[in-house]
Amino acid sequence: MKARGFWSKSRIVEACLIGTSFLLVGAVCLWLSLKDKSAANTADISLKGERLYSLTLDHQEEIDIPSDHGHILVDVDVGKIAVKSSPCPSQYCVHQGYKSHEGESIICAYEGLSITLRSVGGVEVIHV
C-alpha cells in the first residue's frame, strides 16, 4: 500500500526514529536513577495513614506496633529495616525482608502499615 498525504514513507521512518530515541533516553534515565539509589538513613512508619514514627536507622531497635489484628513487630538494624512479624494472613510484608535504600517501602495492606525509606538527602539541618 502506498503512503499518502502527511504520512509519507520518510515521515514514518522519521517518526519511528524519534520515538525510538525517546524510548532510549527514558531507559537510560531510569537506569541512572536506579543506579544512583542511595542508602537510606531514615524510615517513616505509618499506620492507616497516620505517621507513627520517623526514625533514623543508625541503631538497633525492635518496635511493637499494635494493629487491628494483633501486633506488628518492626526490626531496625543499623541501616536497614524489616517487618519481623505481622498478624496478616499473606505474610507478604514479612517476606519482603530488609530494605535499606531510599525510595524503597514495605507495605502491609491488611493492617494498613507502610514503611517508607528515605535518605537525609542534602542535609539541611543538623542538631548538635
Partner: protein
Amino acid sequence: MCLSKSLLLALSTIALSLGLFSCSHNVHHSDMVYAYGTFWEVHLYEGKDEDLDEICDYIAETSRVLDLEASSVEDGLYALNHLGQVNAHPFLIDALSLALEMEKLTHGAFSYTVGDLTASWLDALGHGVLLEEEIVVDLLQKSRQTSIKIENESVIKTGEATIDLGALGKGLCLKKIKAKLDQKGFTKYLINAGTSSILFGENTSKSGETRVEIDDAPGRYFYAKNGALSVSSNSRQSYIIDEWTYSHIIDPRDGYPANNVDAVLLYGDDAAKLDALSTAYFVLGEEYASELEDMGYHVAMCKGGKVIYESAGFLE
C-alpha cells in the same frame, strides 16, 4: 525530510535529553560507618560510589589504628600501649604529634594519658557513685608519669597509664578526609562523625549551607559551609548523682569531672585541632574562651540552657 536529517534530529534529541537529565539529576551517595565508637554519616553530593567507599574504608582503617582494643593492628595504639614501643602507622604518628602540640597549647587542660582515669570515672558514675579520692590521686599520678617520644616512625612510651587519643581521633580523621576530597576537587559533601565532629562542604541547597541548631541553647543556631565543627557537650553524655551533673570529660589538672560549662562549640577550618581544643576548653571554661578567637576560631560556650560566650557574628 530525508533520512540523514531524521537521524540527525533523533541523535540531537538523545543528546539534549541526556544533557538536561544530567543537569537536573542530583547525585547523592551516602553511607553509614561505625567507627571511633559512634556512627558516622557520610554524604557525597558528587563523585562516584567508589569515592564514597574510599572514604568509608579510610574511616574504618584509622579507627582501628587508634582502637584501644584492636590487638590485631600491629602498628596501632593497642600495640603501643601493650608493647611500649612500635613502628607506628602514619596516622598514629600524626595523632600523637597533634596530642603533644595540644598538650603544650592548652595550659595542661588536654592530656592523652588520662584514658584510665576517664574510664574509671565513667564506670563509677555509671554505677551512680563518685570515684574514690585515693583512686583519683593514684591514676592522676600514673597519668603524669606517662609520656611518649616520637623518633621518625618509631614511638616509645614510658609510664603505666594508657595512651588514649579519643579526644582528637575523629577530628584528625576528618582533616585527612578533607585533604582527600580537596585533592579530588570535591566541594559538595557532609561528614558527620556522631555530631561531636562534623565536616561541612556544601549541600545541595541554593546557598550550600547547613543550618546547625544547638541543643544546649534552644533557639540558637548558625549556618555552616566549607568548615569543620567540634562539639564537647554534657547533653550527649553526663551523669546526675544527688541532683548534681557530672561530665564525661575529666579535668587532667585535678582528676575530677569538668564543670565550668555545659557545652563548647568550635567552628573553623582545622577539624583535628578543633576536636582537641573543644575538649580542652570545655575543661578551661569561659575565662579562656577568647584564646580560641585569637587562634582564628568561632566559639560558643553554653551553660544552663543559654549561650554564655559567643564570638561576634557567629550565632543567630
